[in-house]
């Protein structure tokens, strides 16, 4: 198997794990469960749970304790997409070629669906208590998950992004938004993977810096593709950032500088991983793949 084939197999496996933790569509809350499952099954790269699983393996993690956390992480990510697409925020009718949750279920149910996904993420992660002999490890992973998803992580970045909507951003504001809106959940994914495998605080801290760089490189690559790709290749309209007068790394520093930065961040991430005793070749391959991707 080449890397791309291995990635496809692993992604399908991650998806199978996530789907096994979704709520049943039955009883009085059937409609809400349907909205949650519709959002969760609407596709996506499943990068965050994949990074979590691979980091878990990097630190020698074994068993199923990682699985509820993988599902929880994807639920948190999906909750943010469902609310981000709402008319009061980005007002998107389509995502990845499919109708967004509020377009199908209405705004009120989409708001509650996002809430229920965020809450269900924690309900799901709590299942790990009965799958692990060490509740302290689960507790540490929960603390990481909570921090990276909230006001000092993703939601903090979201809030500043929304607040400045339409106005140009300073480089400092853009850094904050990228570090939180995008990097925080990737940091959290890798850190919980490490924590659940029993990594030391020093190792978790090191992995945080890897996740930070991977997340940033991923976001800047997104900005680059918006101006260098075609609609056919990307699967969505190009030059959308320019049209929406959105401040991005590319609008602030230009494409060439952005490409250099992506390379620099990825190399640093790989170098930092190289400081560890163990190696996960697939994880390294994944980081390299993300910076050469065309969509």
């Amino acid at each position: 198997m080449n890397f791309k084939e291995e990635l496809d197999v692993k992604t399908r496996n991650v998806e199978k794990i996530i789907y096994s933790y979704l709520p049943k569509e039955e009883g009085f809350a059937k409609n809400l469960a349907e909205a949650m499952n519709y959002s969760m099954k609407a596709g996506g790269k499943r990068l965050r749970p994949l990074f979590m699983q691979e980091t878990f393996h990097l630190f020698g993690g074994e068993g199923k304790v990682i699985e509820p956390f993988m599902a929880a992480m994807e639920m948190i990510h999906t909750h943010s997409l469902v609310h981000d697409d709402l008319p009061a925020l980005d007002n998107d009718e389509y995502r990845r070629g499919k109708k967004t949750t509020h377009a199908v279920f209405g705004q009120a149910q989409a708001i509650l669906c996002g809430d229920a996904l965020l809450n269900y993420a924690y309900e799901t992660a709590f299942l790990a208590f009965s799958m692990c002999e060490d509740p302290v490890r689960v507790g540490r992973a929960l603390q990481i998950l909570g921090e990276k998803a909230g006001i000092y992580g993703m939601l903090g970045g979201q809030a500043l992004d929304v607040q400045n909507d339409g106005n140009p951003l300073t480089a400092e504001q853009l850094d904050y938004i990228y570090a939180n809106k995008t990097s925080a959940l990737i940091e959290g994914a890798m850190m919980t993977g490490a924590a659940l495998a029993g990594a030391s605080e020093e190792e978790i801290f090191l992995i945080e810096s890897v996740g930070y760089r991977v997340g940033l490189a991923f976001q800047i690559q997104d900005d680059i593709l918006d101006v260098t790709s075609t609609r056919e290749e990307l699967g969505k309209p190009v030059f959308s950032d320019v049209k929406n007068r959105k401040t991005t790394y590319v609008t602030l520093r230009g494409v060439e500088e952005a490409q250099k930065e992506v390379r620099r961040l990825s190399e640093e991430a790989l170098e930092t991983l190289g400081e560890l005793e163990s190696t996960n070749l697939f994880l390294n391959g994944l980081i390299r793949f993300l910076i050469t991707r065309k969509k």
Copy 2:
């Protein structure tokens, strides 16, 4: 001190505890923290954290481990109010005489504020791991909190309520909505209080049935006050359920039947509490007070 004075002192104390866990209004997420704190400081009876604290004491609980959970419970409750008031749901500009969160901060920030409060509830509850020698107890309390707030608790009730907006409800649907939208968090409050104090599973189960009855009685009393109170006494418009063609216990069964049901539920709750070895006289007084309240 009479009961009312004791209640006031305890409520102020609960509020002090909750406020000590709110996020700081600083940095790039200042605006989001302001919206969260505005919502949390907009008043309320603080019943859920009060029930939690009193149940904790009923089971001999000691120390500060209960405090982050009290704050977490009020954050979850407030998150639901912030989203419930949104234009896509109840569209309320005022709550308890104050402008609602979206009326002050805009819809987009109000959506993110509700999300951040829900997430911060868990971040806050996770602090209990470092305040308790027994992580298993904290884990059990977290599982209860998650279940009672989510699709199999409050949010499930919310979703059915919103879905049926404007249409008459069957008695079965109304029971489901009351049991989940209102009772679930009161059950959760009392159950986490019990769990953190080290109560047995049997005792937690018994307390769940008490919380269920207290929540139901509280909600039906609300329905009764809507048709028997005055605007001055209640502090909000009366006969609103009839005007909004809302199905309530009173519209389904009449005021007299409703009053009988409130008395029956409260007596059952007190009888069940009487089965326990220990007694908390204030908790008993609180249950009696809620059914005789005028607002």
